[in-house]
Symmetry: C2
Subunit: 393 residues, 2 copies
């Protein structure tokens, strides 16, 4: 029952010899050899040549065989959907993108996703049986345990819809559903900051949200609504917010608020996209307003730093990519307002994934489920007994 333990060691993609695996796992070389044999016979692990000889017979190297199974990562935004087919190392193979509006409802959106998944798999000459899991990020609160959105503000018709069950029915494998910001945090942390156990991703776009990874694990909170930074009160602001309260971060520093501020200064900015464009063109007003928004976000992040003491904060979302001013404003306030001990080793970085943190995270979510010890051992057990006596049909 511990074949998965050996496999786990190979999860990082590095190739290893049997001896190395024995040392790392604590098992004997001969036992490791047996596990490697089962993993090889099922395709999860493949030999990748020999190691350099150290004076005797060279050891053969083994590594994770990324193509053994497939996973699907889905990023659903307010007005777009991306479906990506990836291998077990998390590398994307191919993807589909559509300009769908989530407001069209779950069946329309999920139907397209199922169809896209089917097509992508077929296009690779493989079948849905090869798909080990699906990960999907939704732009709203999600009850992770049941895979259902809960009162999502911008997703009419999705409330308590059984997303996981519906997709599982059509694709035939486990479906993991989560909030889009959580997914982004997972994607960013696992790909760019794998050694960092305490990590926060802030997404700044039309709204503002955060994904929190503490102790190496994504924290969703009791109802799965953790990370909702958008309606935290900003010191010194009384701006009215659509949520009914005043002084919310989102009412000051999110895309629409920044655009409105620019219009007050006489600059024509209708949307978040135009704000990004203005910043890219070097508009002085945009720079100024973005820096101020950054300071406001920094006030809130300073508190996050004091509370959670992360070692990395990544600033992502559409507004973050284009605007260094935003980043500068954030850093300025965080380093001034947080405790020295907490900021000493704190890094505030831009997203390293070029805008696809969402899909990356969805893929990661799927892979981590499919390759988790329990699931994997069950899978190995089932596949190693091809002719199971069938009692009923």
């Amino acid at each position: 029952m511990r074949t998965s333990e050996i496999f786990d060691l190979l999860r990082d993609g590095r190739a290893r010899t049997r001896s190395e695996l024995a040392r790392e796992s604590g098992l004997a070389r001969s036992s490791v050899a047996l596990h490697i044999d089962t993993l090889m016979s099922l395709g999860y692990v493949a030999p990748v040549g020999d190691a350099a000889s150290t004076g005797g017979r060279p050891a053969s190297l083994f590594a994770l065989n990324p193509g053994a199974r497939l996973v699907i990562g889905v990023d659903v935004g307010a007005t777009h959907v991306i479906v990506e087919l990836a291998d077990l190392s998390g590398v994307g193979i191919s993807a589909s993108r559509a300009g769908l509006d989530v407001a069209e409802g779950p069946e329309a959106v999920l139907g397209w996703i199922a169809e896209a998944a089917r097509a992508l798999v077929a296009q690779q000459g493989r079948t849905l049986d090869d798909v080990a899991a699906v990960g999907i990020g939704l732009p709203g609160p999600v009850e992770y345990a049941t895979g259902r959105p809960i009162s999502p503000p911008i997703m009419p018709g999705w409330h308590r819809f059984d997303v996981a069950g519906w997709l599982r029915e059509r694709i035939g494998c486990p479906v993991l559903v989560d909030n889009d910001v959580n997914i982004m945090a997972l994607g960013e942390q696992r790909t760019a900051w794998p050694e960092t156990d305490d990590f926060v991703l802030v997404k700044i776009a039309t709204g503002i949200g955060a994904g929190v990874i503490s102790g190496g694990r994504l924290q969703r909170g009791a109802q799965g609504t953790a990370g909702d930074l958008g309606h935290v009160r900003v010191p010194g602001s009384t701006a009215p917010c659509r949520c009914g309260n005043e002084g919310c971060l989102e009412a000051v520093a999110a895309g629409p608020a920044i655009a409105a501020r620019l219009r007050e200064l006489g600059v024509d900015a209708a949307s978040t996209g135009e704000v990004v464009a203005l910043a890219a063109q070097g508009s002085r007003e945009a720079a100024q307003v973005l820096r101020e928004a950054g300071r406001d976000i920094g006030e809130v992040l300073a508190m996050v730093v004091n509370l959670l003491n992360p070692s990395v904060i990544v600033v992502g979302g559409r507004l973050a990519g284009a605007a260094q001013e935003l980043h500068a404003g954030i850093s300025e306030v965080v380093y001034r307002r947080s405790l020295p001990l907490a900021t000493e080793h704190l890094r505030i970085a831009a997203s390293a994934t070029k805008g696809d943190a969402g899909v990356r995270g969805a893929v990661v979510l799927a892979i981590e489920h499919a390759l988790s010890p329990d699931v994997l051992d069950a899978e190995l057990l089932e596949r190693s007994r091809p002719a199971q006596p069938v009692v009923m049909r």
Copy 2:
């Protein structure tokens, strides 16, 4: 190597039959029987009579034997030290208390602790060999991994002092060192809210701090400084703080700040203790000021709720116990300023431990270490081989 798994099932204190354990563990009844035998022979588990017959031979019940080993929990405050001897169920057996000042330095304080521990153990007619672990909470930032305080503001001479190593040398067992607020959170959650995985404890006394439990695990952050709520900025305040910034929560709502506020109103209140006394006497001014302080704390906690979505917040510390007004002010603002989804099932409660959350947590920390699978299996292995061939003396 999985005897600890069976033992783990009995950790909750409930007695169980072999069959029940077999069902819960997934092992066969006969295997469970063998593990129970080893656990019994070493004293960790004891038979506690028979279960009611269900028509045949009654099954014998087994339960954790709390007296098998001892643990020691230590709570170090600014001006007091408590050392408690407890059994494996976390129940206190006896305790020592002293009015020591931490400022007297590590050797004085730890020396007293070691002596008190020795005395308490001897008093029970047992030896230090029976002590499985020591847990200790210190009033300042602690690097948990190394067991050393880091730049603690009120503990001169303790910076980087090897508390764990020093005590281990005299008591001869593992020593776990943590921040006092973390310890309190652990004590409160494990004893009063064991089902709650997302939990926050706020301590309001001379300072203000929080202990965060997410996903069932205490979160210490990257440098172990997580939970530092005292210097978060409160919206609408510009009060200068001793830390150099302004508008810090501690400068508005902690004991000294409240006392100062009362003096402004012409009420004689020199210390935190006097504030508590005034509130107990029903002073109107105290009630008013405490409610306002509660609101300020509520502003900060509202953000904590949005960020972490806990299901329980416990308000502890000297100020919390006596003052319902403080609690009322906190609740008022948290429920108004946090997201409805996050507050729907949120409970804000007073501490259920009568002021001894700190010691309770220290005891829990020690027990959870001593009974963790790895440590326990090693222990069982060693004890089951009484006459190990000694190579050197």
